[in-house]
Subunit: 306 residues, 2 copies
């Protein structure tokens, strides 16, 4: 068990870690810092832990330090916290991009700290400290991306694995680069597409925004949920995983062009085969325990589609 963790950034993920660590007993004490005074005030009101007004003070005495800020704010957070880190402190993060975070943060940390980047595959469309909840990581994957295989790093991976497992997560280990390619497909591209269709629908000339909202239960509403995610976080993801995102986006556009052509030329068999193939993936997702089997996600507001 870890004596003391320090959470830098008290948004949805940071606050959820605080709740989960307390509830599970994964850490004896919890220190928090956020660069935003308003967020610090909320963190105090929510009793998330010992809230500090200074990053370096927050991480002093911490055995494990977790950076829970948008990818683009990682360097600043690391710079502010570094002077307070004790010898042997394990440092990790929860950023959605790993190579860029590794490159930006590693050089800023003291020699006596051990840095292993990480990423919990968990979240909701909400943001801020009030959005946090203890069960967020239960049954979800947590990816660790060690930068080397020194003894210290191996021990840090083991400590982090135990910590996240205590929070309910399952552990995977891969390289930062591999993480970024996989997440470009499973997360970054889906979000980009959702942002794009929702923004597009908002300023169409042919259909009004209120019509789109009114009839959104026919499919569109699903995309609005993902597109409600924090814009700062997502801006940073796309700026920092550019290559992998552009690559998979190119493939998406290519396939979409082929689909467009099949529609234009009335190629029913091509459409049917593709739709039928796509259908099978749902079953696998449910069998893997990655989504509910209930129709319409079990949402309680009636039906959808067509």
């Amino acid at each position: 068990m870890i004596e003391r963790i320090a959470i830098v950034g008290a948004g949805l993920i940071g606050a959820s870690i605080a709740h989960a660590a307390r509830e599970s007993g994964a850490a004896k004490s919890i220190a928090l810092y956020d660069a935003d005074a308003g967020v610090r005030a909320r963190a105090r009101a929510l009793s998330l832990g010992d809230v500090f007004d200074d990053a370096a003070a927050a991480v002093t005495d911490a055995d494990l330090i977790l950076f829970c800020v948008p990818v683009g704010a990682m360097a600043e957070a690391a710079k502010a916290a570094a002077p307070g880190m004790k010898a042997g402190a394990i440092v990790s993060d929860v950023g959605s991009v790993k190579q860029a975070v590794a490159d930006a943060v590693a050089p800023l940390l003291p020699e006596h700290a051990v840095f292993v980047p990480g990423h919990p595959i968990a979240g909701t469309e909400r943001s801020g400290p009030d959005a946090g909840f203890a069960s967020l990581f239960k049954g979800r994957w947590h990816i660790l991306t060690p930068l080397g295989d020194s003894e210290a790093e191996k021990n840090a991976v083991a400590t982090l694995a135990t910590f996240w497992e205590t929070l309910g997560a399952r552990i995977d280990v891969m390289t930062p680069a591999r993480h970024d390619v996989v997440l470009a497909v499973t997360s970054h591209l889906p979000h980009l597409i959702a942002f794009n269709i929702v923004a597009m629908a908002e300023d169409l000339e042919s259909v009004t925004e209120s019509e789109v909202v009114k009839y959104s239960a026919s499919g569109f509403r699903d995309f609005t949920r993902i597109a409600a995610s924090d814009p700062t976080m997502w801006r940073d993801v796309f700026l920092n995983n550019r290559e992998a995102v552009l690559e998979v986006l190119g493939r998406f556009s290519e396939d979409l062009a082929a689909l467009q052509r099949a529609i234009r030329w009335g190629e029913g068999d091509t459409l049917y085969d593709l739709f039928d193939r796509a259908r099978r993936m749902r079953r696998e997702v449910i069998e893997a325990g990655q989504d509910t089997a209930a129709p319409n996600f079990g949402r309680d507001t009636g039906g959808e589609e067509s």
Copy 2:
């Protein structure tokens, strides 16, 4: 109250109408027909109503006849049922495309029947008679698209409106062409994009299908639900609403290309503004009662995203 309805096509929608009509008392008796003998057997086993082996026999004596088959099967269903229709019978359908259905079905019906196409904005990713349930239409919109404004059609619109309201729906009236443009945005394009990304992810070289499934809680899984919808139904939608779909798809691709460019050139402000704009639409959808406000749709399998 309607004495007798006949449902032609006992899939998700037809079966749901049967359940809802019985539960609400919207019709005294319910006749059903399906071209598939296996579906008829299930409809009998589920006691959905009086199941007939012949379409014309099923609609005899019916005051209201509802075609609940894929858009591409409407003409065949109408042809088979037409000889049985009594004078003054009201005929409608639930197809996701309206102009093509109107054009295909209207000429096949007897002069003494009154045809008003319709479309319930309701459904799930499931299909078949076992997927039906009584509350599917509760709080959802039902769009009626009358083809003229004769006295008979006005009366039919009033009767259909009362029927669907008794099932829990809210009524809208518009032209078939307008319906097809609006639904191309709110339903057809979202489904096309979901089918495309899921099919693409299935045969990427860089990331395996099992990796995609494993990390799908980061956003991708949402798309798999929509992409699990009936492939026959959706093939017919795209074949029969080609123009409107191609138009809005062109706009989507154009906007996506601009987004791609913003990522390539690292234009953070452009990305932030677009993501922030997209975020607002979610609030409107929830305020309009078209989706649950619970994070992650309230699904019970843990978190998502990033």
